[in-house]
Chain length 348, copies 2
């Protein structure tokens, strides 16, 4: 077991306790993109690994960067270091990351393109990711949870359709038009995502988060059809095999429709960016979030004050402290430390 | 008076009637960025004018493109053709538009930068814009309203701070830190915006819209301080001089906080992108929006069906039909026509 930062003495996981609505010893806390380029120790490993994808598929190094933030900070969870594009990549789509340009993926825009995709479970890529999960879990003490994840079908599909681009216009038009290949792609991604999350759970992930980063693109019946319904189908599929695996749903930016997300059957927590106050969801819902990552760039005092404001707004037994979005490059690690400190002190 | 598309016979403005809560003869309708590059007749004028800024400051040609969409479509309002960066430009900041790159503006990031700015009212730029307003108004029949506009302080400031870039991180950090120069810039923009909108009203604008395109960046007390408070101050300042001038507030993407926008004293209508259904605001509030501009790219059937869904959700006496954001380049003008038709038929 590796040396991590532990200010408490518990053997229970506060994150899992809150997700399962059990009394927790403290307010659980983790940060989206807590393992990343803002940390010098991450940059050192990244340099050693080669490309970003080499790092994702190297269990030893991916596990190392997964654990790094828990060495620095007294956090309640590690989140698997991987990328949401692992799913299309493991399904056989060529993928590369260009420095400063983002991902480039072979686009999928027809039934023919779709027919070429392979099931992901037996792929080299997913096997390596699951090795990372298993190795990381074996390194963590019992009170630190390991979170697995996948991208939600809408977000993954929009990258696949856009060829890796974050421009979702082609995908949105396909959704509006209910293109048969689009609908088939979404259905396929539900199946693959269930397999992927179950494989992570089999390997040792104790909770999973479904990231729908672009959910806010869709409204009306498209939101129901292509955000909420596929996420529900993934939850159902995963819970059929892993009944007690907690699932966090992060449908970013869907505004007042977060109330619909909170009604998803089997969602143990709802992540919110900044489109709602956490308190706007019913009081029986566990909420995750929602400190603005830009507040971390404004210095320790500002960030800690914002963190306290959020903690004051929501009871710790239904709150997972997190950001509204990932930690930004250029964030001072000391400011992250100040926020952790502020949250810990708040509940003392 | 020019030849425009008029399917009705009224001499009253449906837009102004709904804004003033009077019985209107039909559901008023206009589209954000209705004058723009998706129209071949716009592209022809744009070519003749020279640069984008040359067009903005040429009253005859700017008036022409302002009116163009009303020749094609039976719309209830023209919106002044100009740019939200007219304000910093008229205050003396060098500005240029690079093809395919967006605006480049000399950045403002200190009290010294701020001290160099001039009052905009007596500038050549604002005089030309007001000539466009006057000329356009003289060309329009009584039942077609002319809408003036300005960017809200947060949005204009974020461009000024970012040097024209749409990356608002530096501006957000300054807001979180309550940098004295940032606060002074916001105060200054309130004063200049009041003068600018009043000058437009003096020249013939019959309603004005305040565009806070990046309002959704801010939450918590920053939203109150730097979105809602400055907009309220602009409304107060304008209504002191033009008591009956209707004001539309478009604080884009502020999620459930649109309920706070709806409480702004003197806001005659609230524009909404897609973060809320129009019906989520109290029933005494006039709402504007919120067809997704991407739906227009999905073809006439999809777009018309979406338009009908929106019309069905909100009574016409409190609704201004519009998009949730500007018309996109590449939109087929015939699809815009189909939406206009669908909205007109809906209420028949």
């Amino acid at each position: 077991m590796i040396d991590i930062r532990r200010d408490g003495q518990s053997s229970r996981s506060a994150l899992l306790d809150v997700l399962m609505r059990k009394p927790a010893e403290r307010r659980p806390m983790w940060f989206m993109r807590q393992a990343g380029r803002y940390l010098p120790e991450y940059r050192a490993v990244r340099e050693k690994a080669g490309s970003f994808l080499d790092l994702c598929y190297n269990p030893e190094l991916a596990s190392e960067v997964t654990i790094q933030p828990l060495r620095r900070y007294d956090l309640d969870a590690a989140i698997l270091f991987a990328d949401i594009l692992v799913v299309p990549h493991a399904m056989g789509l060529p993928l590369r990351f260009e420095e400063g340009e983002g991902p480039i993926l072979q686009p999928v825009r027809s039934l023919e393109d779709l027919a070429k995709l392979k099931p992901l479970v037996s792929s080299h890529e997913v096997r390596q990711v699951c090795r990372t999960v298993a190795w990381t879990r074996s390194q963590l003490p019992a009170d630190r949870a390991l979170i697995g994840f996948c991208g939600a079908p809408w977000t993954v599909a929009s990258y696949m359709i856009g060829g890796g681009s974050s421009d979702r216009v082609i995908a949105k038009v396909a959704a509006y038009q209910r293109q048969p290949w689009f609908v088939a792609l979404m259905d396929r991604l539900v199946v693959e995502s269930v397999d992927y999350l179950c494989a992570q759970a089999d390997a040792g992930a104790q909770a999973v988060q479904i990231f729908d980063s672009w959910a806010g693109d869709l409204g009306g019946s498209e939101l129901d059809e292509f955000v909420l319904k596929p996420i529900q189908a993934i939850i159902d599929g995963v819970k059929e095999r892993h009944r007690d695996l907690p699932i966090i749903v992060f449908a970013r930016g869907i505004g007042s429709r977060q109330k619909k997300a909170a009604e998803l059957n089997g969602a143990n927590a709802i992540g919110i960016e900044t489109e709602l106050e956490l308190t706007e969801l019913p009081s029986d819902v566990v909420v995750q979030g929602n400190l603005d990552p830009v507040a971390l760039l404004a210095g320790a005092d500002v960030a800690a004050a914002e963190a306290r404001r959020i903690c004051a707004s929501v009871q710790r037994n239904r709150h997972i402290f997190n950001l509204g979005h990932g930690i930004r490059l250029g964030t001072d690690p000391a400011v992250v430390g100040a926020v952790v400190e502020a949250v810990r002190r708040f509940d003392d």
